[in-house]
Symmetry: C2
Subunit: 518 residues, 2 copies
């Protein structure tokens, strides 16, 4: 029996994390999507790289910003194109690894592979510390043991890793003059943008795709994420939107009925699976204890679908048809009137969880005991307030409750978040005024279907800090490999990106040639 | 008996540290000036502040870049001008404290006090962690106990301290819109420039005076510092330069004579003093064991004099006449021909060590057992290669020997320097190309008499990253309080600085008024 677990393990990449869902105390731990890591972002069979690269390791200090006597660790990076690289000053295209296995990102960032040859660029995909094989303390088990061991999992340390790696790499190749262009999507896009701002001497520019660097504190309204998800559904079908909006109360009510949970468990084909090996598992039917888990599961489907609402069939998170929200809504809407609301919902989300039709039952708990790196990051630096408002959201209403959020972090990790640290370290408030005459060569690319676009930079900041916005784009679609089915606007978006990168490079070489001043 | 110790304790501020003087293995530990801290940069009587401020404390995490379970500490800052401050968006003038007691920097940075009222600016002088009263672990004794405790004494942590402090301060005053202008001299100037680059969202501009941000790795030739010191002497008197250049061999030779060290000790009036209280001590005549200490002592006098070669009498490091190098050379040159070369040298450096004529004898060892914060910084991040070349320097020839430098750090602190870290973190190579279209609103002010000017930014980088260079200026003279004796070029320099700062502020307010975009 194939199962949803296996599909889920094909992995995400996205920022959805438990952090979004620590909400009002009325809804503790509700709206919790599948745990962010767990088996997330490992290289599934369907995503195995077709690109050729060499895997290398580089020794990094655990704390770049202190001289405490800590063990170093080996950072993994993938390198390709050495032979075609135009030394001594050909460009380096550097992908800023995010919260997962770097091979998965390499496999899913075809844009870099597609365009590097025409620039004779070296390609480097650097893994983020504490993910994939870049584990401090020798193993994930050790590294994730407790807060002491996890405490060096921060964005600033990751950026310093990237900068030290690049500086050393260039020295070893005697290519100190090579300009570096950064790439990144989602959290990786945030890192790319921040790295261009913090290390302008290391990289000449950054393409930050779907990078919600403004999703902190009060910079954007906390309801923006769920409003966009909801708008994506409303756009396809108002009745679909309404059905989903109504479904939560129905679900809640049914959960309180006699045998209601039993019926829900059956109707939604729930099971619990023991995974013995990667692709083999045994599943048994199970009953819900409450409706929260099921709500989370539905929420995840809607949110992820909004992210990957691509105009062609894809297999990024799950195997999906083109325009999957349209397909989901077709299912929800096209049942005869008398069909129960929850049956429609089940039929709809099956587009997400079971498009292949091969899944017999669904396990809602994805690795519940696994420690997730992103959960740690959300509990320390990456505090992104989220809420759902009554009017525009199809989700149940809830406010962001920082106290509950903090308490959960203290309980789970023994760590207190620093909710204001990211904006202190990287800025975000008044970004236009701050960067209008400061910084250069950053592309913030976003598709407005992507719920993360609400926390991203959607307007040009200056002549060279550019927002590329597409009406119909979803989560960093521009970073994916070109396909024959790419719509015109996507071809144009990528063309603009290539032209901008060309411009950065030619300006750099021109300055370099004319400039003999230290 | 008053003594040189007391005078020395009036303190420095400057970057001269043992780091400069770890040199060729032929001259191990030679050219070592007085230990950088020790009793350095404490508030001496003659430097006691005449400015009014309030002393406050702010709780800081020890490691901003990890979540390790470390004790927080209390950072001291001085605050003034709250009543005159034009709330809610009046400017904040923020001094980036360097390696010493912040009250001493407040007392010696009259420029900020002079100009703040006309801007209705709040004044903040923030102390650097591990200096003055801003001690982690409760006391200097604890904080300086060993490498583990000292390991959070880094420039990046200090910048994060400043940023967190400012962000919190503004929030508490509900003055989030207040523009911050940074000030700093010497290492504090480096911090001001780096902070503007790293935290453009926290501060709109920086006046970085005498900030040798390029004195790292191979960015500037390692002999630049001693070449400039030497040029300062040659400029006043070629014969003085020659006498000093010849004196080292004479000193060395005399040290190997029978009773040579005894004679030297007498001729140079050397003693050893026990300090019981701040200003009371007992001194006994002593003999040299070798000539190295004496050479270091002479070297210090020349180097410091080059830094404080101000055109008016000053009491910055020591009570000194106007143009003290000219005075020193007058002494050296005006002895009758038959006078011994070392007698002339002694007479000369007495301008530095004993201008008041009140000192009976000189103790070469300044707090030999004290741990120096700057020595730690030099042994970790602040590796500034220094050498002395045969042709242009009046000092003995020596090369920079990194291996010896490193070994000494391992021996003294149990820590290995990261000699390439500063340029990886803050840049420096190709600074013009890097910052030509990146960054804004920094003034690098330098006087060419200052030996640190050789490692500073001496050319405009862009329209708003400006180098203000004065032919006759010494170490951050522009930051000192205005006096009636200020030469015209200094008045003009300060005027330019004020105009530039005015420009930053008016541009900021204009943007703020016209800009309603997030």
């Amino acid at each position: 029996m194939e199962r949803s677990q296996t599909l889920a393990s094909a992995s995400l990449l996205l920022l959805i994390s438990s952090s979004l869902f620590f909400t009002s105390s009325a809804l503790p731990r509700r709206w919790r999507p599948p745990r962010f890591l767990g088996r997330f972002a490992r290289l599934g069979v369907s995503n195995r790289a077709t690109y050729q690269y060499e895997e290398r390791y580089f020794r990094q200090p655990l704390d770049h910003f202190s001289f405490a006597d800590l063990p170093s660790f080996q950072q993994r990076y993938l390198i390709a194109g050495v032979d075609a690289w135009a030394l001594p000053s050909g460009p380096i295209f550097f992908y800023c690894g995010n919260e997962g296995d770097i091979e998965w990102f390499a496999a899913n960032t075809g844009f870099v592979w597609d365009i590097a040859p025409r620039f004779s660029a070296l390609i480097v995909f650097a893994e983020h510390r504490y993910y994939g094989k870049s584990m401090p303390y020798g193993s994930k088990e050790e590294a994730y043991k407790n807060a002491d061991f996890l405490s060096y999992l921060t964005a600033e340390q990751a950026l310093a890793d990237f900068s030290v790696l690049l500086t050393d790499l260039k020295r070893n190749f005697s290519s100190e003059d090579s300009p570096v262009v950064l790439f990144g999507g989602s959290y990786g896009g945030m890192l790319a943008a921040w790295m261009r701002l913090k290390y302008p001497h290391v990289a000449i520019g950054a393409l930050a795709s779907s990078a919600p660097i403004l999703q902190f504190e009060d910079i954007v309204p906390p309801d923006t994420f769920y409003n966009i998800v909801s708008k994506d559904f409303k756009r396809e079908s108002l009745s679909c939107f309404k059905t989903i909006k109504e479904s939560w109360d129905v679900l809640e009510a049914q959960g309180t009925d006699n045998d209601g949970l039993l019926k829900l468990s059956k109707d939604f084909h729930l099971c619990r699976c023991d995974v013995s090996l990667m692709l083999s598992c045994r599943c048994r039917y199970r009953n819900l204890n409450n409706t929260d888990e099921l709500s989370d599961w539905l929420n995840s489907a809607y949110s992820y679908l909004a992210m990957v609402d691509y105009p062609y069939p894809s297999d990024f998170l799950m195997p999906l048809p083109a325009n999957p929200i349209k397909e989901l809504c077709r299912k929800v809407d096209n049942y005869p009137n008398e069909t129960g609301i929850l049956e429609r919902i089940f039929a709809g989300v099956s587009i997400y969880y079971n498009y292949t039709g091969n899944v017999d039952c669904f396990d809602l708990e994805d690795d519940p005991h696994g420690m997730s790196g992103w959960d740690w990051q959300a509990c320390t630096e990456m505090v992104m307030p989220m809420s759902s408002n009554k009017d525009n959201s199809m989700f149940p209403e809830f406010d962001f409750d920082y106290a509950a959020y903090r308490d959960e972090c203290v309980r789970d990790y023994g760590v207190r978040p620093r909710p204001r640290w990211i904006t202190t370290e990287f800025g975000g408030h008044d970004i236009k005024i701050t960067l209008m005459k400061f910084g250069s060569n950053i592309i913030f690319s976003n598709g407005l279907l992507d719920p993360w676009s609400g926390g991203s930079v959607l307007q040009n900041i200056s002549d060279s800090i550019i927002a590329l916005v597409t009406e119909l784009g979803a989560h960093h679609i521009d970073l994916r490999a070109a396909t024959d089915e790419d719509p015109e606007w996507l071809v144009e978006q990528r063309y603009s990106e290539i032209e901008l990168i060309k411009g950065w490079l030619s300006e750099y070489y021109k300055q370099k040639a004319s400039c003999f001043i230290k």
